[in-house]
């Protein structure tokens, strides 16, 4: 059968290619960034207030501002590449971006694929529902459809916290949010500040229930890019000590940060 033979040869070719090409040299990201005078950062454009499009259709947000600060400290320009939750790690691993500042939770499992900066934001997972909904918390989710973003920790934690809920994953935050707005989902789970960002866009939705998991966000870099990671960590800590981090935090969340950024002495 021609198709199967084709498939077999393709797989064989691919496997051989992999064996030959796989041990390729890893390029140091920080050197590459300095050489091209540009930091390429993966950011969201559908997750307010971390990365989203404003009325002028430009990408803005908490993550974006932090990346600007990093680029400024490194003395380079910045180019933003749009990522979504499912693509923020693959694009980093494949070299499409130098780092991923994309509302990404630091988890031990992800450490198997990438390295993280220190925690730059701590969020909590909660629920967003229509204002007139009967759902008031996790226990009301039995049998209800909950929209969640594919490729996030949110999916797994919700499954553990509300095993009776019907979880419906979506490719990106926008489609999940639209599903709630259209009534295709009874609830939408996400990080507290992200849900607050969405709720601001449309009247008639409210956040309910207790916060049920801790989501520490980190900026992702590739395995082995320790120089870039140290540079990012240094910038984050300097932003905290100088007060600039708090300014940016207040700008996007309207409250003071509830957890400090850990700082380490220089010498």
């Amino acid at each position: 059968m021609k198709g199967l033979t084709t498939a077999f040869f393709v797989l064989l070719a691919v496997a051989m290619l992999g064996a030959v090409v796989a041990p390729a040299r890893a390029e140091d990201a920080l050197e590459a960034i300095k050489a091209r005078h540009k930091l390429i950062a993966g950011v969201k454009n559908d997750t307010p207030p971390f990365g989203y499009l404003d009325e002028k259709n430009e990408v803005v947000g908490f993550d974006i501002d932090l990346v600007h600060e990093i680029a400024k400290a490194l003395g380079v320009e910045v180019e933003f590449v749009k990522v979504t939750s499912p693509t923020r790690v693959p694009l980093l691993v494949s070299g499409n971006v130098d780092l991923s500042a994309a509302s990404m939770t630091h988890t031990r499992e992800r450490e198997g694929a990438i390295d993280f900066s220190i925690t730059y934001y701590t969020g909590a997972q909660t629920l967003l529902v229509p204002a007139d909904s009967a759902i008031k918390g996790l226990k009301d989710l039995a049998g209800k459809t909950v929209a969640v973003q594919q490729g996030t920790t949110l999916e797994k934690t919700l499954a553990q916290a509300a095993p009776e809920a019907k979880i419906q994953p979506f490719r990106d935050y926008t489609t999940a949010w639209l599903a709630l707005r259209q009534g295709r989902a009874d609830a939408f789970t996400g990080s507290y500040d992200v849900l607050r960002g969405f709720a601001r866009e449309a009247p008639g939705f409210q956040i309910v229930g207790e916060k049920f998991s801790l989501e520490p966000f980190g900026i992702g870099v590739r395995h082995g890019d320790w120089q870039l990671r140290n540079a990012v960590n240094a910038v984050l800590q300097d932003l905290w000590t100088s007060g600039r981090y708090q300014e940016i935090y207040r700008k996007w969340f309207q409250v003071d940060p509830d957890m400090p950024i850990e700082t380490w002495p220089k010498g």
């Binding site: 084709t6 040299r25 259709n57 590449v81 749009k82 693509t87 691993v93 494949s94 499409n96």
Partner: protein, 217 residues
């Protein structure tokens, strides 16, 4: 329906439309060239080349476009150690995709040239390569005009799939605006009409060219 949402965001949407047209133009050129090369390899007499061409064509024709794009954008860069921007990955993916289809169309185009033509050309002293270049290809291509323009219109529609890997062409731009404004019916209707206008115009061009240049069969 509220069409003001379209007029309010017109600059951004128009930019997306420009990206769509630009992408389509690039891919039509590149895809035709790849299709020509692949088609010649496929129908040629060098066995190694022919087998590679056949393998490639069969693989692509059995794979959805979206999957080809994902492979080019996500799966290939780690192997070759070189990143593609979303736009580059889309263009490469589209060219790689449509090239296989145009190659197959070329195969039937070449086969449809009457054998008498080839024999006469050889008999009058032309070398095989000259026969191909001066007699067979021109006729094959003229017979292929409807099929080619079919592929070109398909390409124009395919550019919408680039939005899935993050290219801000017309569909991507429309969805981004919708995410903020939430007027899906107005925006999507405008989107559909824009594609309709572009694709219909392209197919009319194809029909006109066919009337002018086609060979009566």
């Amino acid at each position: 329906m509220d069409l003001s949402v379209v007029s309010r965001n017109l600059p951004y949407l128009a930019m997306g439309f420009a990206v769509t047209l630009e992408t389509a133009a690039l891919v039509i050129l590149g895809g035709s060239m790849l299709g020509l090369l692949l088609g010649l390899a496929r129908s040629g007499r060098v066995p190694g080349l022919r087998h590679c061409a056949i393998l490639y064509i069969e693989f692509i024709r059995g794979t959805p476009l979206l999957v080809v794009l994902f492979i080019v954008y996500f799966a290939i860069p780690p192997l070759i150690g070189h990143r593609f921007t979303a736009y580059a990955a889309a263009v490469i993916g589209f060219i790689a995709f449509i090239g296989a289809y145009i190659a197959e169309d070329l195969r039937s185009g070449l086969a449809s040239v009457p054998h008498g033509q080839i024999e006469a050309a050889l008999a009058s002293g032309l070398a095989p390569r000259q026969v191909l270049r001066l007699v067979v290809l021109p006729q094959a291509i003229r017979r292929m005009i409807p099929a080619l323009f079919n592929q070109f219109v398909r390409l124009l529609k395919f550019t919408s799939v680039a939005s899935v890997i993050g290219v801000t062409e017309l569909t991507g731009a429309t969805l981004a605006v919708n995410a903020r404004e939430f007027k899906p019916l107005s925006l999507l209707t405008a989107l559909a009409l824009a594609y309709f206008a572009a694709c219909y115009a392209l197919s009319l061009l194809g029909r006109w060219l066919n009337r002018r240049y086609a060979i009566a069969s």
